[in-house]
Symmetry: C2
Subunit: 450 residues, 2 copies
């Protein structure tokens, strides 16, 4: 029988996270406060436990994964690596395509990899409650699951429009015992101000972040938890790439190119960073972060000092950004609608270690349907971005005759995104690429980083 899956036993779950900071040609700079000076770790202590702050600043290559976190990850990890024989046949390509499927987690994406670690460190620090924000609900549901596993209350500020339009992720969070409140809410000053200005405010991710941060900062028993962007979050995701390397060994193969969707950067970083170590050691592998045409942070943004949230409450980070008040259109890959990008991913892009590609929305759904019809799995709209880029590469191989090995990080399933597929089939989706002038305007006034 043709080999389809490369499975690992749970003993193969990595014992350490890989910290790419140890292998970067340019050292990372600390985040800056409003005065332009580096932020001290103490400033973060109001919202994060010490262990998380240490990981945020860490420079050592390997950071041990606590056993209770590994034990929790074992509920679904190691995730399977698939050889996409049927997709290859459908494309008629000489390329070999592999994908690692993170949709096997109970929440259906890679997000719980970090949620579990964050919940664990907060529990250890005596924190009893986590506040967070969620847009479509991927992160909120992952933290709800993690909170349940480590005995923490979880309060999720969910963007009001999603709260109304995506009730299923909300029910999922409630099934795992979390409380979900539409944002803006009257529980925070930021929320009350927004509601006073407009009682029908549909909310935004930036506003929900402000509410969650304010909530966490105002209560000693409560921490804040973020699902992407920050160094510690990307660190926790490196179990993906480490497992993939073991699985490629089983397969007797090694990728020529890796494709992962990139919004805040934790999915891409989680898959690609462990291969950066190989690259530093001289191995040839392309690492491609795939983003939407409609939110082209890495491909058309600027490397600059900018805030992580739209309201400007967080410290500033050196990263590729379109400006913190950039508002991408309402595309269906909600997880990729972020104005900035992980500082680690940004620095590696700046230094030419990784690549970026931008793909149009219609093309991503077309790729997702091709994938579903060959491999069975219906991918999340975010994952469809990586599939699109990999199919483009596979089709180039068909032209050139090259038998490249391509690796897709399939970040999650699309079970809660069927309305998006529905709208695609009905011809209601469209592409949006920003005119140069509009990008130029967005980047005006940004404080360039080196």
């Amino acid at each position: 029988m043709q080999r389809t899956k490369y499975l690992l036993d749970e003993d193969a779950i990595p014992t350490h996270w890989y910290n790419v900071a140890a292998d970067m040609p340019t050292p990372m700079e600390a985040p800056r406060g409003p005065d332009g000076n580096p932020v001290s770790p103490d400033a973060l202590a109001a919202i994060f436990p010490e262990a998380i702050i240490e990981q945020e600043m860490a420079t050592e290559r390997w950071i041990p994964i606590p056993e209770p976190v590994r034990q929790g990850l074992a509920l679904w990890r190691p995730s399977p690596l698939y050889r996409a024989h049927r997709l290859e046949a459908a494309l008629g390509t000489p390329a070999k395509i592999y994908y690692k499927y993170e949709g096997v987690s109970p929440a259906g994406s890679h997000k719980p990899n970090s949620a579990l670690a964050q919940a664990y460190y907060n529990q250890q620090a005596g924190i009893q409650r986590l506040a967070t924000e969620t847009g479509a609900g991927q992160w909120g549901s992952s933290l709800a699951l993690a909170g349940e596993m480590f005995g923490l209350e979880v309060d999720v500020y969910m963007v009001a429009i999603s709260y109304e339009q995506k009730p299923f992720r909300r029910s999922m969070m409630e099934t795992w015992g979390a409380s979900v409140v539409p944002s803006p809410s009257n529980r925070t000053q930021a929320g009350r101000d927004a509601l006073a200005a407009d009682p029908d405010n549909p909310g935004s991710l930036g506003l929900a972040i402000s509410e969650a941060v304010e909530d966490a900062a105002s209560r000693a028993d409560t921490s804040y938890a973020l699902g992407s962007v920050l160094n510690h979050v990307v660190l926790h995701q490196t179990v993906i790439g480490q497992e993939a390397k073991q699985q490629f060994e089983l397969a007797g193969d090694y990728p020529d190119a890796i494709f992962a969707p990139c919004g805040g950067g934790s999915n891409f970083g989680g898959a690609a960073f462990p291969f950066v170590a190989d690259k530093a050691a001289g191995r040839d592998v392309r690492l491609v972060a795939v983003e939407p045409d409609s939110c082209p942070t890495l491909t058309r943004g600027q490397y600059a000092w900018d805030y992580g949230d739209s309201a400007g409450l967080t410290p500033m980070m050196a990263m590729y950004t379109l400006g913190h008040d950039f508002m991408p259109p309402g595309i269906h890959a909600g997880g990729l609608r972020y104005h900035g990008d992980s500082p680690l991913v940004s620095r590696l892009h700046r230094d030419g270690i990784i690549e970026a590609a931008a793909v149009p929305q219609l093309g991503t759904f077309e790729a997702g349907v091709t994938f579903a019809r060959s491999e069975g799995i219906i991918p999340a709209p975010e994952s469809c971005h990586a599939i699109r880029a990999a199919i483009d590469e596979a089709e180039a191989c068909t032209q050139s005759g090259e038998e490249k090995t391509l690796f897709i990080n399939l970040s999650g399933h699309g079970h809660f995104d069927m309305t998006s597929y529905d709208r695609y089939f009905r011809g209601e989706l469209e592409d949006y690429a920003y005119p140069e002038a509009e990008i130029h305007r967005a980047l005006e006034g940004l404080d360039r980083a080196e």
Copy 2:
């Protein structure tokens, strides 16, 4: 690290299906026509290919699984067997609880195990198109996936009320290339008659079956495909129990009792039948089919000759039934709302080889939430029935101090059932147990079998 999962490599996918007919104390009787005489295999040839009809009548113990079917199953099989450490801890029980998770299939349940086999045999027979019915969409989506894999068109008659209320399963079928039409439709005489009588007819599974059968019988290029009840469907599901036996060997354990949800019987039979062989060889294992209180076929129905569909178009089978015009209330475990039961399951129940238990709806959701909050996975409402019965058994173990080994067949995930959980949390669900007089009335006039 505490062992959580027992995985098998894809080479361990069974090479044969296990036919329980070979190990039954009482031989099966052939279905009967309206005249009371046995139906000849030829009568089924209008809607099924020969290979399927042969399997329906087969008495040999082992039936080889064609390699293309095994290769297709390898997309998600073998499914994992989990040790439910967290659930055990949450219950504080000395019982050891295991569950096999069929939700890893792309369609999210065990149904594709038979859909793939049926699509394959139809393709081999030169059939180009399959017609089927679906209620909530589990079977329709599974056949859509299988049709896509073997190059067959799939047309699904979907109960109209579900078509409107459960658009996501419909989008899933369309993603896999199937055509979905609300039933009653104007494509069949049965549908046109129903619409003429009531243009707003919300449809029913019985009516959708009539439409699909009429469609298949009227076109030479088209077969009919059924998702449960019939012998060949249950046969195809026996990969579940066979894998489980291998996995229990890995775990160095063996179940004292097996719990599986039972509607048409294919999920229960798939898990339990391979253990019937052990039982026939003298091994002690309880096999418990779990059904809803509100559709108590095995626990309160009668062993009788009855039709498989509500309109009375199919042959009559000897089975436990509540009468083919029995209409269970609209509980949320749509897959368990069936008036009859697999003739194989029924015969084994009649002969005391298997047991049955009925559980109330609220108790099943309570059990599902307990499971989700400990094991992470949000189970389908059907699966919650098996969980409920297993938790009851585990709690009896807490009382008695017995360290029994319990095995749950977790038939699927609840990602498309979150409205049901939502209604449970809002207190909108209720229990319904039939008064004796109502059951008595339902059973009146049934033609008892021995």
